[in-house]
């Protein structure tokens, strides 16, 4: 719905040409803060937690990793999972799966990170996900009559019981769609808690949210999928706090410019659920989420 609204704004561009120019402002200096990127799932693969530092905004470097931390996740059943730092990647801590995947739906997990005398903790409850029933492709009429324009759609139904939240991640030909405009979130089967849409098939804009947001040199949308492309759709369970977090991340990072700027919200820091046990200690940002995952892949054939 919101995306449609933005599309509509581009419609205005027929009338008026807004104009975006890249500028190079001087930003206020700031000390780096710790950043924890801890999204853990029951996907049967190695689970990774990253500990990094923030950088000046306009510095396009890989984020500096923080080495030497003790990273572990424990659950409410008394189990502790240790994450060991990778030998060749500073700040990357992994737990290698043995047997089944990580965690159990309904359990509460606590992340603990100890580094340079600081002690960070965070909590998350592992949520459930529905299975992805199917993936379909449709030929789409575009106004300019491009005959080879296809869009994909996944089909799944939110389980009964309000408050399930999801992040639908899509891989096209093995590459994760990771643009801010491609963040596809669901609260039950719709966009928000207020929509009150529990237990239904995911609404159409979410089902359609598996299409890459790619354009050609003239800024015209490209066909999302072509015959021969493969698509893999994953539904990741989020906690409600993580859903709110990612919803805000989408607001703060998806800035297409142009007329949508008229309705942009003020820049604000997104929340964090990672806290320093010493309130006066070093600042920390980032998020910890444990969730189950379901997935389905399909190759597009006509």
């Amino acid at each position: 719905m919101k995306r449609k609204y933005v599309e509509l704004l581009f419609f205005f561009a027929i009338l008026f040409s807004g104009c975006d120019t890249v500028i190079h402002p001087t930003l206020q200096p700031a000390d780096p803060v710790y950043v924890v990127d801890a999204f853990i799932s029951d996907k049967p693969e190695t689970q990774v937690i990253r500990l990094m530092l923030s950088q000046p905004y306009l510095e396009a470097q890989l984020p500096p990793g923080v080495s030497g931390a003790t990273v572990s996740v424990s659950d409410n059943e008394g189990n502790t999972f240790s994450f060991a730092e990778n030998a060749n990647e500073a700040g990357v801590y992994s737990w290698v799966q043995s047997g089944s995947g990580f965690g159990k739906v309904g359990n509460v997990y606590t992340l603990s990170v100890n580094v340079n005398g600081e002690s960070f903790i965070a909590q998350s409850k592992m949520g459930r996900v529905p299975k992805v029933d199917s993936i379909t492709f449709q030929h789409t009429d575009r106004n300019d009559g491009n005959p080879d324009f296809y869009r994909g759609q996944f089909w799944a139904t939110d389980p009964k019981g309000p408050g399930d939240t999801y992040w639908i991640k899509t891989y096209k030909n093995g590459i994760l769609l990771n643009k801010p405009s491609e963040i596809n979130l669901a609260y039950d089967a719709a966009f928000s808690k207020g929509s009150n849409f529990d237990g239904y098939t995911f609404i159409q804009p979410i089902r359609n949210g598996i299409n890459p947001d790619d354009t050609d040199a003239n800024n015209q949308p490209l066909s999302a999928y072509s015959p021969g492309d493969s698509v893999y759709v994953e539904i990741h369970a989020l906690t409600e706090a993580t859903f709110d977090y990612l919803a805000q991340v989408a607001i703060q990072t998806n800035r297409p410019g142009g007329f949508s700027e008229l309705f942009a919200r003020p820049l604000a820091n997104v929340p964090t659920n990672v806290f320093n046990q010493n309130a006066k200690g070093a600042k920390v940002q980032g998020f910890f989420n444990v969730g189950s995952v379901s997935g389905l892949g399909k190759k597009f054939k006509i």
Binding site: K4, L15, F16, Q28, V35, Y57, A60, N178, L267, N269
Partner: protein, 794 residues
């Protein structure tokens, strides 16, 4: 205690003057335009012998009571030929006067020794009046004459940028202005986001903006009152006017229904870019649409010497459709019925009934199994009786009441997914707002004029409905619901009331200079919920509830006003204001404002302060005329949970705001207009840092500050030339009067900044590579915009 004293003193004045009003006679009547019968608002009646007088009210009515005697009267109005008349006042007289528009404009003869008293008659301060003639001269964006854009040329009025709807007055937000069209509130006064306003210049008679010293008859918003009055329609002869512009085509028809008794006007506008583009854009042939239109109608009937009724209406709509089934639309509809009744020569009454509605509709989904439709509205009925008692030549007492019944429909929404449909509507909200007020305008001696009054307002939010209570939390974070209580029909959920004193004074220091000051307190029970840079058509109005308290504004002003020049053709003024507000609304980060039952949990409340100095110099007559306006201002909010609980500048805080409007008559057929605007950069928030979570680049402000940086300044020059059509053709005078307007907006094509935003690059970053980040500056209008329009009248 002090309030009671205040009421007592009003009572005292009432009885005091009533007792002293004997052996006097009253002159009363209407002052109208001789050419078309339109009532003249604010025309002056001056009695030479007594060096006193009065002005007509918004219906063109005046009444003045003076001792018996023979008087020479002078009826005048700027741009009209003054009428002098001698009357022998042995009894009360009804005297309706018609003034002719002066051919040679503004050649007002001013008798210097009387200037003092003449000026003393008009004592309003902190108000700006724009006559439609001036509005039509200001160079306009795409050549479309626009009431609200013209207001932005006045001191103390600003906007967040091009394309933004509404306006900001003295540091108030867009939703703190009450916009009235023939007394009916207009909840969204914009077409096409904010590029154009809904007022059709062909149907507008008078535009008045109250920035301070707001009379007690107005209430309900804390920043300003924009009072737009429609034309009544020519009661003498038929007239058709219109124009063909770049965006709109307009036509207005007016004429007498019964000569000098009843008349009407119908004015319509429609944008036609979609009509023109249809052959070229396939989407438009498939049902896509982009258009807006409005219809303004008014009729009036002068039933008798004592009774006059007016019926007016406005209907406007914007449509944006992707195809036949999808898109959205919004619009206002208002209707006003007014009855002026002269009870007796000194008691004038007006009864107004108003209906006003704003609604929007959205619909997405091409097939019936996957759809989303939503509509939302605010509608109200208003009844407003007001009486004006013209006590004597020195006192004019007004008192009245206002009752408003509101129905809010936040969301009537149905969502269908894969054939299963669900009603996700939110509860309607019902409210009743009422007010009682009284105010007196009093002249004391030759020097001092006082206006004082009191408004008592009351607000009731009642059932059927539910109230929610919320848990306290760290400010700035969404509050969770702790309880819900349901109420039956008519049961009060929350009530508020406020005493709103209003007072202003004017001291006529010399014939040509005066000092004016004012204080007013205003209460606002409706809130425009908007957390985006510019307000948008989907923004919802929400009433005060048990959780949302009424906004309160207090404002003090003090100013010095002076006329200069041989014919007092120059007017200069300096006016300062200081404004404090309470219960201003702000939003938690990530607030969900639409379709949210628990909206109140996402709202924050804080206080505001705004102060500034406005300088204004105007040359009113001559071949070259116009004005220079400069405002030095500051406006801030302090909200717990934002900016580390410290004061921060609002998005529309502009330190310097300079505007120049100049009009020059080159010869009989050509005239030129120019305006220039310089505004210092508005505040915005820049990040300091970045970090990556889950492959997404997130901006971070390590100081947690809001609006920590200023955008570059804004400046723009617009020019327009007007060519009058030939008045004489083949030796005969043409019946048809027409003119062309050629305009250029943003003459030197400056790319003025609207905003600066930060984002990762739009290309897909491969895993393991650093994500490029960049800052971009947006200009809404990045080039010069020429336009031509043709206007006619016959």
């Amino acid at each position: 205690m002090s309030r009671n004293l205040y009421l007592l003193s009003i009572l005292y004045f009432l009885t005091h003057f009533a007792a002293n009003a004997q052996a006097k006679h009253t002159l009363n009547g209407y002052i109208r335009d001789k050419a078309n019968g339109e009532a003249l608002i604010g025309a002056t009646i001056f009695i030479r012998e007594l060096k006193t007088g009065t002005v007509t009210n918004v219906y063109g009515f005046y009444s003045i009571t003076v001792p018996a005697g023979t008087y020479s009267l002078e009826f005048s109005y700027l741009g009209y030929t003054t009428v002098n008349q001698v009357v022998d006042l042995t009894g009360s007289i009804r005297l309706d006067i018609e003034l002719s528009p002066s051919a040679q404009e503004l050649q007002e003869v001013v008798v210097t020794d009387e200037a003092e008293e003449r000026k003393a008659i008009n004592k309003e301060m902190s108000t700006n009046k724009l006559d439609i003639g001036t509005i039509k001269k200001i160079p306009a964006f795409l050549g479309e004459v626009d009431v609200i854009k013209s207001l932005q040329m006045l001191p103390g009025v600003s906007t967040v940028g091009e394309g933004a709807s509404g306006f900001n007055v003295r540091g108030g937000s867009v939703g703190q202005n009450l916009v009235l069209l023939d007394e009916a509130p207009v909840y969204n006064a914009s077409h096409l986001l904010g590029f154009f306003s809904v007022f059709n210049p062909d149907a507008v008679k008078d535009v008045k903006l109250y920035k301070g010293a707001i009379p007690p008859r107005y209430g309900g918003r804390i920043s300003s009152i924009l009072d737009v009055r429609m034309k009544e329609g020519n009661s003498k002869k038929w007239e058709v006017s219109g124009g063909v512009g770049t965006i709109f085509s307009r036509v207005a028809v007016e004429g007498p229904l019964i000569k000098d008794k009843a008349s009407f006007i119908i004015a319509a506008r429609r944008s036609y870019i979609d009509v023109l583009a249809r052959p070229f854009v396939k989407a438009l042939q498939n049902g896509a649409g982009l258009n807006f239109y409005d219809l303004t109608v008014k009729s009036n009937y002068n039933i008798s010497q004592r009774d006059h009724v007016y019926l007016s209406g406005f209907f406007g709509r914007d449509n944006f459709l992707f195809d036949r089934d999808q898109g959205f639309s919004w619009g206002n509809a208002t209707g006003t019925l007014r009855w002026n009744h002269i009870f007796n020569k000194r008691l004038f009454a007006n009864f107004t009934g108003v209906y006003s509605n704003y609604d929007y509709h959205l619909k997405f989904g091409k097939n019936t199994s996957d759809q989303f439709s939503w509509n939302s509205s605010i509608s109200n009925y208003i009844f407003k009786p007001e009486l004006t008692y013209f006590i004597d030549s020195k006192n004019e007492l007004s008192f009245g009441a206002e009752a408003i019944y509101y129905t809010f429909v936040p969301a009537n929404a149905v969502s269908v997914s894969n054939g299963e449909s669900r009603d996700i509507s939110l509860d309607k909200k019902y409210n009743f707002e009422s007010a009682l007020y009284a105010g007196n305008s009093q002249r004391i001696g030759k020097v001092l004029t006082l206006d004082y009054g009191l408004r008592f307002s009351n607000f009731n939010y009642f059932g059927p409905g539910s109230s929610y209570s919320y848990n306290d939390t760290i400010p700035g974070i969404r509050k969770s619901v702790s309880g819900e209580k349901s109420y039956t029909k008519g049961e009060s959920i929350a009530t508020y009331h406020n005493w709103e004193p209003r007072a202003s004074f004017k001291v006529q220091v010399t014939p040509n200079s005066s000092i004016k000051g004012s204080y007013n307190r205003m209460a606002q029970y409706l809130h425009l919920i908007s957390n985006t840079t510019a307000s948008n058509p989907l923004d919802v109005w929400t009433p005060s509830t048990n959780n949302i308290r009424p906004e309160i504004g207090n404002q003090f002003t003090l100013g010095y006003f002076r006329s200069l020049g041989k014919e007092t053709e120059y007017e200069v003024s300096i006016e300062g204001y200081y404004r404090r507000t309470q219960n201003q609304i702000d939003y938690v980060d990530g607030a969900d404002l639409l379709l949210n039952k628990y909206l109140e949990g996402d709202l924050l409340s804080g206080m505001g302060r705004a102060y500034g100095v406005e300088l204004y110099a105007q040359k009113k007559t001559g071949r070259l005329n116009g004005w220079v306006s400069y405002t030095l201002g500051h406006t801030e909010l302090k909200v717990n949970g934002i900016n580390r609980n410290n004061w921060y500048s609002t998005r529309y805080d502009q330190r310097h705001n300079l505007k120049v409007a100049a009009f020059y008559d080159i010869n009989k057929r050509w005239s030129a207009s120019a305006n220039f605007i310089f505004v210092s950069g508005t505040p915005t928030t820049f990040p300091t840092s970045r970090y990556v979570v889950q492959g997404i680049l997130i901006p971070y402000n390590a100081n947690e500050s809001r609006n920590n940086v200023r955008l570059p300044s804004y400046n723009r020059l617009d020019l327009s030339m007007r060519l009058e059509g030939k008045r004489v053709k083949r030796g005969k005078e043409r019946k048809n009067h027409d003119y062309w307007v050629f305009s250029v907006y943003n003459v030197y094509a400056r790319k003025n900044p609207f905003s600066v935003y930060f984002a990762q690059s739009t290309t897909r970053t491969p895993a393991g590579q650093p994500i490029p980040s960049q800052a971009s500056q947006l200009s809404i209008i990045g080039s010069l915009v020429p336009a031509i329009s043709y206007n006619f009248k016959f």
